[in-house]
């Protein structure tokens, strides 16, 4: 009988695999907005998304910025969104972490240099959106052990952990050298991974939820809907 697997077990394992693909843990997202002056984007003006890389500990993941970029690019209207890589390259090296302005007022001083202003004007940049924050996993609990041998292997146990994603977007107006406000997004959820031979991850996708929350609110503010 070795090597023979009951049909019922196969269905159970297949069902678990399909469930793992489809299932994701619950996520709670809270989006807050503190915008004093709504941006007024004219035709031909662009918005730049930048991650704040001056923090020694927290650095926004490239994947989050890519997600945000995708959501803003998909918003209504004709607002042009410039990616971080393009902007940093076009104005190299003035937005590297050593030189990047830390206050909206400093941008005005930077743009007083004619060669930098010429470049910024050519890009049509009106607003800078600084994104800061990251996702992490805390409160890890449970245990799982895996063993492998040429004859086979598997894992047994249960793990759980909390996923937290905290991001904020600060909007700067380059024309008036002032900060317009902040939008923040906090997402929390608990992930679990039971294992009966095969680990089944049921992940709380907080980063994606934060991206959707922050991206949609940012899109609403930039397009004048909020």
């Amino acid at each position: 009988m070795s090597g023979v697997i009951p049909n019922r077990s196969i269905r159970a394992v297949s069902g678990m695999l399909v469930s793992a693909v489809l299932a994701s843990a619950c996520v709670t997202t809270r989006v807050e907005q503190f915008v004093l002056d709504a941006p007024l984007i004219s035709a031909g003006e662009a918005v730049v998304l930048l991650s704040n890389r001056q923090d020694a500990v927290v650095e926004t993941e490239d994947s989050f910025l890519d997600c945000l970029y995708g959501r803003l690019n998909g918003m209504k209207g004709s607002v042009q969104i410039i990616s971080e890589d393009q902007f940093r390259d076009e104005l190299f090296p003035w937005f590297e972490s050593r030189l990047a302005p830390t206050r909206a007022e400093s941008v005005g001083i930077l743009l007083e240099q004619p060669h930098i202003k010429t470049k910024a004007d050519a890009l049509g940049v009106r607003y800078l959106v600084w994104v800061h924050g990251e996702s992490d996993a805390t409160n890890k609990q449970g245990s799982m052990s895996c063993s492998f041998s040429p004859a086979g292997g598997g894992c047994f146990g249960m793990l759980s952990w909390d996923n937290n994603s905290n991001y904020e977007a600060t909007i700067w107006d380059l024309k008036d050298s002032k900060s317009l406000g902040i939008i923040s997004s906090q997402s929390t959820g608990t992930s679990v991974m039971p294992a009966l031979i095969i680990p089944i991850p049921i992940i709380a996708r907080t980063k994606g939820a934060s991206c959707r929350g922050l991206g949609d609110q940012l899109a609403a503010v930039l397009s004048g809907e909020s």
Partner: protein
């Protein structure tokens, strides 16, 4: 009946059933272990042209063979990569943008004076170092590159010494191998460009650099 059942199950599981899956797990485990074993780091060599107004100086630039062919090799860390050509490319771009003209010259310590130049610059890499996420208990690879620029007069007399340190960091993932180290190194090179177009530029304008004697005292 047995053979019929076995035939039916093999339509769901590959031949060998759970034994095959065990081997798959073993292979996946081996790949995970080997992915943390180091190797050659790929460093991108694209650097944009710096946006800076040129200073009215004609400079000569000399890259020593140690600088232009610098490679980092560590058997202990199992990390190897070539940095020399990348940093030459970056420094060329920076000096091209910073000065009205740049000329590649021979070693000023052994060549004839070049009166058509205002000064000769010799970049020197003193130390490349990095820390992995495990060493810093963070999620980042951090890189520091210690340089100094030796400044010579057109008469090949050393007149100044300007040290600086460039930093870079990049998020390291458990499955991303050494790619984040390469990206952190590129970030450090870009930071070097930022230091050159601002702080070194100011030093050139005001001749505010250390004298050769001070440099010797510092290194001793």
């Amino acid at each position: 009946m047995k053979s019929s059942l076995h035939h039916r199950t093999s339509s769901y599981w590959p031949r060998g059933g759970i034994v095959w899956y065990g081997k798959l797990f073993l292979l996946a485990g081996l790949i995970l272990v080997l992915s943390g074993c180091g190797g050659t780091v790929a460093i991108k060599d694209y650097f944009p042209d710096p946006v800076v107004a040129p200073l009215p100086y004609r400079v000569g630039v000399y890259y020593s063979p140690e600088f232009s062919s610098y490679g980092y090799h560590s058997d202990e860390e199992k990390v190897n990569f070539e940095l020399g050509s990348k940093q030459v490319r970056l420094f060329d771009k920076v000096f091209n943008a910073m000065f009205i003209s740049r000329l590649a010259v021979s070693d000023p310590d052994t060549s004839q004076p070049q009166p058509q130049l205002d000064m000769i610059l010799v970049p020197v890499l003193d130390e490349y170092a990095f820390l992995s996420p495990a060493e810093t208990a963070t999620n980042f690879y951090t890189v520091s590159i210690k340089y100094h620029i030796r400044v010579y007069s057109a008469e090949n007399q050393i007149i100044g010494y300007w040290p600086f340190v460039a930093y870079g960091k990049n998020r390291g993932g458990s499955m991303s191998g050494l790619e984040p180290l390469g990206d952190a190194t590129v970030t450090a090179l870009r930071d070097a460009a930022a230091a050159l177009v601002t702080q070194f530029r100011r030093a050139v304008e005001t001749e505010d650099w250390r004298l050769p004697g001070e440099a010797e005292q510092e290194s001793s």
